[in-house]
């Protein structure tokens, strides 16, 4: 068992640098969507996407077919909560209409209403479910759609780190490296609880949809250097400010171990991202991880909306 941590500046905080309020808001939303994706397995992603599509469809129907008589679930003076389907509600009267899709692991909101009503909106959501708010999908930048973003986001839980194989190795994080079997090296990553599998030999990728971690083929080069080629990736983000990579991305990594004079052992990961769709030239980065004496500081942490 090997545990590494990465020494890093607090890039996540600095990433907010220089963003105007509008850009900041946009960036935050995008990151939420992104990081949530990195917290999920592909099947879950598919399910969430279906739910999101349902929520958007329902919200659209609400806007275009507002005269249809939905079933009323709850109401008070200021806000009405309308039940559209068993797990989908619309909160009306708090600025723009708010769609509420309740899933097994969280809530997706379509718009957040006006700022002044967010406390009451949150109270109504809590009457429906105690699941955390995972997404807010804004259909407009107008105040009656995004005003409640900040307050409702504080009640949320998911968020987003840069993730997927093309971005995850640059996060401040620890790695837990083990052999899953004779031909598969497993890297567990505590930032967002992600797992990468490096396959050796003549492993053939199963015919599945592209995934966040892709299909990784590994081979040893010279003494102690590991070369890993990853393809079949689902598009994601290289940076937390929304710099994307596409499904066409090829990822090449080199893992090298060096020893320092003071006895420390470091893992150096050199990463080259090639994406003909979004990048004009390879995006080359490197990260360093120090080997730890034991696993006492191994602390897998799910994606967090706070940091």
């Amino acid at each position: 068992m090997i545990i590494y941590f990465r020494s890093s500046r607090m890039q996540s905080a600095v990433d907010f640098e220089g963003l105007s309020p509008r850009r900041f808001s946009t960036s935050l939303r995008r990151k939420k969507t992104t990081s949530r994706q990195h917290c999920l397995g592909d099947h879950e992603i598919t399910m969430v996407r279906k739910k999101m599509r349902s929520a958007l469809f329902a919200a659209l129907m609400l806007g275009t077919c507002g005269s249809a008589p939905p079933a009323r679930a709850q109401a008070n003076e200021n806000i009405e909560v309308l039940r559209i389907r068993p797990s989908f509600y619309v909160i009306a009267g708090a600025g723009g209409n708010i769609g509420v899709q309740i899933g097994t692991d969280g809530v997706v909101l379509v718009d957040a209403g006006a700022k002044g009503d967010s406390g009451q909106v949150l109270a109504e959501i809590r009457k429906l479910t105690d699941q955390p708010i995972r997404y807010i999908i804004n259909t407009s930048a107008d105040a009656d759609h995004v005003g409640g973003n900040a307050d409702l986001a504080k009640a949320g839980r998911s968020i987003f780190l840069v993730g997927g194989a093309a971005g995850v190795m640059r996060l401040p994080e620890r790695l837990h490296i083990t052999w899953q079997d004779d031909t598969t090296l497993r890297i567990d990553i505590d930032a967002g609880v992600q797992t990468r599998l490096f396959h050796f030999g003549d492993w053939k990728a199963p015919a599945t949809m592209p995934s966040w971690q892709g299909d990784s083929l590994a081979q040893w080069e010279r003494a102690g250097s590991l070369k890993v080629a990853t393809t079949h990736l689902r598009g994601g983000y290289l940076r937390k400010n929304g710099v994307p990579y596409s499904d066409n991305t090829n990822l090449m990594e080199h893992y090298d171990v060096v020893s320092e004079r003071n006895g420390e052992i470091w893992l150096i990961v050199t990463t080259t991202v090639r994406d003909p769709r979004y990048l004009r030239q390879p995006y080359i980065t490197a990260a360093q991880f120090k080997k730890e004496p034991d696993a006492t500081r191994w602390d897998p942490t799910p994606c967090s909306a706070r940091w």
């Binding site: 607090m10 309020p21 060096v258 004079r261 003071n262 080359i284 980065t285 490197a286 360093q288 940091w307």
Partner: protein, 319 residues
Amino acid sequence: MGSHSLLGEMVATERTPCAFKRWRKFVIRSQTFLALPILAVLGVPVFAQVDLSGSWAYRSALGNVGGPRPVDYEGLPLNDAGRARALSYSESQLSMPERQCLFYAPTYLMLGPFGLKIWNETNPDSGSTIAWKIGAWEDRAPITIWMDGRPHPSKNAYHEKGGFTTGVWEREILTTYTTHMKANMIRRNGTPSSDQATMTLHFIRHDDLLTVTASVEDPIYLSEPVHWTRMFQLDPEAPIPSAGPPCIVADEGPKEGAVPFYLPGKNPFVGEMTKLYNIPEEAVLGGAETMYPEFRKKIKDNYVIPGKCVRDCGTPTGR
């Protein structure tokens, strides 16, 4: 220095008659050729060497080209002395006539925005590499990496601008060790390094990529080593000069003899990162724990997303 013996031998061979010179080369190379399998049989490690020569373009995508904020020591393992020294630094020192042409220390290799020009110096008799050379920048002296096993000078020896560096191959990775550097900085905002600092570099080549990782230890200003990794890519179509242009002193404001600085507690930039980004001051001022992932968890409750900025956004006076 130990190199003098080799240098002397090089000079001597030039005075050697050509026929004998060729024979001598043949003997030395033959001995080398025969020695390799013998060493292998005896279990003596023989590490392959990699050609590092060429023009390597800077490719660290998260580069430092823009430079840091005046007081941003995040991720640096500063001790109290290092922090105090850093806080006394004024950026205007760079404009002092006495310091405009003051070179950075070799640690600047990992901080500066330029590519690397690398070549090797060989022993004309044996063909073996005596030293790897890294060309100078306009603000950094050339670095010579001695590969002939010579010892480092006495700790009392003069500290050159380029320091003193030796290297060995370890599994196709060139590992170097630099001592005798001049006092300088480890971030371009005056974060100090002392003349007792040492630096270990690892040069790792993969095809046309060169990964350079550094570990800097400083018993005066750091409580732990600081680590950096940078990327370079071979770029034969854009040769990098082996020396920088001459430095010419100009009047940039500060008068000769005046040293801009801040008294303790008077640095006006201490709160800048907090004002701009709400990053807690304990993170901004650095320290070993700011290098580790769990520090984020420690201070997360103190971090509040900055409020809406309407004026002078992106500046310390932004509101």
